[in-house]
């Protein structure tokens, strides 16, 4: 029997304070699609970066077709026929598709780049692998899915036999995901092998020949999709049973906490983004603001949290007028905010966990007195938060940027909920998280509600809206166009109103209408 195309043996890789890969072994045969499944921070990307020569393993070996190799740079990996497409594309946006693909190994004729040949080469490989793309298009103008094709073509042009795709679907619309899966299958039919890094269970089930599951830097299992189901994979990945839809009791609506009346807000271009929105959120209730991205949700949230000016209307938080309040005043009035972009707005990544935990309360007791920080109190509270919210970290002194995405979000929740707010405004709180972390966040949100607090959830995910909300408000083009009680509407009905009730955009039966529409602004 021929040796595997690529074989990783007992690879160990450590970073200061973390064991990212612990004696990991993995093999990849010719013509095979292997999914590397694991939570954020399980060590999948580290392993593949070792294979691609971006990182050097501390121990262990890599074999290509039975031969031991030392891959010290991506160039060596490419020479061995290994290509990688990163989550963040490495394209030169103002250049054309052809220019990007041949960059660094341009065919030349008497010292001048032979663009004619380059273009033909690109046409040829794109035809051979069924990756239709215009060779003369400027990369900047292409949708994300097309840019990803260019990345794949780049690897193929350099003679890749093994293609590593790092979370390839994270940035794609469902339609693009389906197309990508088609491409992957064509590639495999043409004799390539593909490693598919992901934490999404459905993708694994539909595309992989074999699944290698990683947890805490180790390979914890290997299975064929047909021998398992998503629940089984989730158990392997997280190490326990995962609840996909959290249980929830009917809500008990108490006092009105947030009262919005005819709110109007402008966006960056001074166009009206929120056009007269009125609603209330009461104590012990989760209200979800559902809508396609870019329909005024971001502006509305920024207005509520004091980050954006309100043009007209009034906002009351527990009867206190916060219409003109600055961010720190809304925090003092009892508002907590889980921002949609945790790297930009949620955390200071270069601050340690202690400094992040006090952000927003850093002038309040017990963290500060007369403007002087009390580090013993800060350390104590941070340790408690880390424990209460299950933030996995080597210590409270590491920078927030070193945590995995799920743990970063837990840290944001720890800070915002630890303050014991009256109203929690959570914007896309589970974006980019894996199932284990999603479950945790959902449970925390419902726990907050059950403690009699008000929650305003903004989400693009229908599944999340349906499972958490007691009341669903649909926002379209800056207006609330429809209101449903929990369980009153199907995904299709929600999708129908979210796209303006036009019907033509509704892809009935799939529930994917939301995200695919969000893709149009790319």
């Amino acid at each position: 029997m021929a040796p595997p195309l690529v074989e990783v043996r007992e690879v160990t890789k450590t970073f200061p304070g973390v064991l990212a890969n612990d004696r990991v072994s993995l093999s990849l045969n010719a013509g095979e699609i292997v999914a590397l499944l694991g939570e954020n921070g399980a060590g999948k990307s580290t392993l593949m970066n070792v294979v691609y020569g971006l990182l050097t393993a501390d121990k262990g070996e890599i074999r290509v077709e039975g031969e031991t190799v030392h891959i010290r740079s991506p160039r060596q990996a490419i020479d061995l026929g290994i290509g990688m497409v990163h989550q963040h594309f490495m394209l030169v946006e103002p250049l054309t598709v052809t220019e990007n693909i041949v960059l660094g190994i341009e065919p030349t004729h008497a010292g001048v780049i032979d663009f004619k040949k380059a273009r033909e080469d690109v046409r040829e490989i794109s035809r051979r692998y069924g990756l239709a793309v215009d060779p003369d298009a400027v990369v900047r103008d292409l949708p994300v899915g097309m840019q990803q094709r260019v990345e794949i073509l780049k690897a193929l042009y350099r003679g890749a036999r093994v293609l590593i795709l790092d979370e390839p679907t994270a940035v794609l619309t469902p339609q693009e995901v389906r197309e990508l899966f088609g491409v992957v299958r064509t590639l495999v039919d043409e004799g390539l092998s593909v490693v598919f890094i992901t934490h999404k269970l459905e993708e694994v089930m539909s595309v992989a020949d074999r699944v290698v599951v990683m947890r805490d830097g180790r390979v914890v299992g290997e299975i064929r999709p047909k021998d398992t189901d998503t629940a089984g994979l989730a158990r392997m990945m997280v190490g326990r049973d995962v609840v996909f839809r959290v249980e929830k009791t009917p809500s008990t609506c108490g006092d009105t906490i947030l009262e919005m009346t005819d709110i109007r807000v402008l966006d960056e271009r001074h166009l009206e983004a929120v056009k007269g929105v009125s609603f209330t959120v009461c104590a012990g209730e989760v209200v979800a603001l559902a809508g396609v991205s870019g329909n005024g949700q971001t502006e509305l949230i920024e207005a509520i949290t004091g980050l954006r000016k309100v043009e007209s209307g009034t906002m009351l938080l527990k009867g206190i007028d916060i219409t003109r309040s600055a961010a720190h005043e809304t925090i003092e009035a009892g508002l907590s905010h889980v921002p949609e972009d945790r790297h930009r707005r949620g955390l200071v990544l270069d601050f340690d966990l202690m400094e992040n935990v006090i952000l927003g309360d850093h002038r309040q007791a017990p963290f500060a007195k007369h403007g002087i920080l009390n580090f013993s109190a800060i350390t104590e509270v941070t340790r408690k938060r880390i424990e209460d919210y299950d933030v996995r970290t080597p210590s409270e002194r590491v920078h927030a940027g070193t945590l995995s995405g799920g743990n970063q979000q837990k840290l944001v929740l720890a800070r915002e909920l630890g303050r014991d707010p009256e109203l929690l405004v959570a914007a896309q709180p589970t974006r980019g998280l894996d199932v284990g972390a999603i479950e945790f966040v959902h449970k925390q949100i419902l726990a907050e509600r059950d403690r009699g607090k008000a929650v305003l959830l903004v989400s693009l995910e229908l599944e999340e809206v349906q499972s958490l909300a007691d009341r669903i408000l649909i926002i379209f083009e800056g207006k609330i166009v429809k209101e449903f009680m929990s369980g009153e509407a199907s995904d299709e009905e929600l999708g129908y109103f979210m796209t303006g009730g036009g019907g033509d955009k509704l892809n009935a039966g799939t529930g994917e209408v939301i995200v695919s529409d969000a893709g149009t602004d790319v």
Binding site: V18, H337, G346, V348, F351, L359, L373, R392
Partner: protein, 366 residues
């Protein structure tokens, strides 16, 4: 991810050493490249460096001279470092320094006859206030209309320099030919350290050095242990998260640039009160600009500013001796300074060289 027991808590000492690595390596490489240049130019680097060391640290007087020259650099280094920590590049420290010097020259005469300790306190506070005020307008422009502080503080620097130029040749000019202000009365000057501490060898170093070291500690403490310093660092690292956390980015920007200006102003105060006892056109040897290099070398750490400033002070103090005794032109000092700045700024180069060594070590082991 699981913890590594062996590296569970990287000790503070280890962390400090890691921080020191790049600056120390940069200085070492600069010295080596400096000797290569001297060799090529036909000089004896060993003789040059030993003369330089002798001139900078060869005795009490020499050490005093080194500390004297490092004093304004500690202040301007702190000024630039504080700005950087808040995400601001105060390139106009030179201008704030001039305003501090102007205030000292003016107050020193006005306060003639009052007790020396009182004068010292008033003149230090006054110089800091004027430095802060000089930074306030650029700060306000930055916070309100987004005018970039690199441009505005630089422009204000020119205004300050030419204002001083005009004042020392006109309204504040002392009797005589030379364009300079009147000499300060002794009660408006900073005492020499050897006058205060009898056991010290006589040298020119004055009380300003002690003040600079104390202020560096205060700045370190402010940055680390106060809400004000916390807000400055937060805004410097991530203004969006700071804003979301209820910090006013514009107010923090204004405060930080004013603090930076106050620190730079102190450099001018101590130069006038401790070295020249009067103000004239050329009283600063570009301390505001060298402060940028000091802050870079110190990696914007206020405590690190002290040794970084002393290094630059030593280069300056030792340069004369080097020229005199080893016959190597003083300009070589500028080359070494430039190399240090270049290497610290290009930290990646040092990291890369270190990284290559570590990598090779790992592979040899494997």
């Amino acid at each position: 991810m699981p913890e590594l027991t062996s590296e569970k808590h990287p000790g503070r000492v280890a962390a400090v050493l890691r921080e020191l690595l790049v600056p120390v390596v940069s200085v070492a490489i600069a010295v080596i490249i400096g000797s290569i240049i001297m060799l090529i130019a036909g000089f004896d680097p060993i003789a040059a460096y030993s003369a330089m060391l002798k001139g900078a640290f060869g005795g009490g007087r020499q050490i005093g001279e080194t500390l004297l020259r490092s004093t304004p650099l500690i202040f301007t280094g702190l000024a630039v470092a504080y700005g950087f920590r808040a995400g601001l590049f105060n390139i106009g420290a030179e201008g704030q320094l001039f305003m501090g010097g102007l205030s000292a020259a003016f107050l020193g005469i006005a306060l003639a006859g009052l007790p020396q300790p009182l004068n010292i306190v008033i003149m230090i506070v006054g110089g800091a206030a004027i430095g802060a005020a000089w930074a306030f307008i650029p700060a306000l422009l930055k916070a309100k209309v987004g005018a970039h502080e690199v441009i505005t503080t630089m422009m204000f620097s020119y205004i300050a320099r030419y204002l001083v130029s005009w004042l020392v040749t006109g309204p504040l000019k002392a009797e005589g030919q030379i364009p300079q202000t009147e000499r300060l009365p002794v009660e408006s000057t900073l005492p020499k350290l050897h006058e205060m501490f009898a056991f010290l060898v006589p040298s020119r170093v004055h009380l300003g050095f002690i003040v600079a070291v104390l202020i560096a500690m205060v700045v370190w403490w402010v940055l680390k242990y106060t809400a004000l310093g916390y807000e400055s660092r937060a805004v410097g690292l991530n203004p969006w998260a700071s804003e979301t956390g209820g910090i006013s980015v514009s107010a923090t920007t204004i405060k930080a640039l004013c603090i930076s200006g106050a620190l730079a102003g102190l450099a001018g105060v101590t130069e006038v009160m401790g070295v020249h006892f009067r103000l004239f056109d050329q009283f600063s040897a570009g301390f505001g600009f060298t402060g940028i290099a000091v802050a870079l070398l110190a990696k914007n750490n206020p405590i690190g500013v002290i040794p970084a400033a002393i290094l630059f002070g030593a280069l300056s103090a030792g340069g004369g001796t080097m020229q005199l005794e080893a016959d190597v032109p003083q300009k070589v000092i500028l080359i070494i300074q430039a190399l240090i700045i270049f290497l610290v700024a290009a930290e990646q180069i040092s990291r890369w060289i270190l990284g290559q060594t570590v990598r090779r070590g790992v592979e040899d082991a494997g």
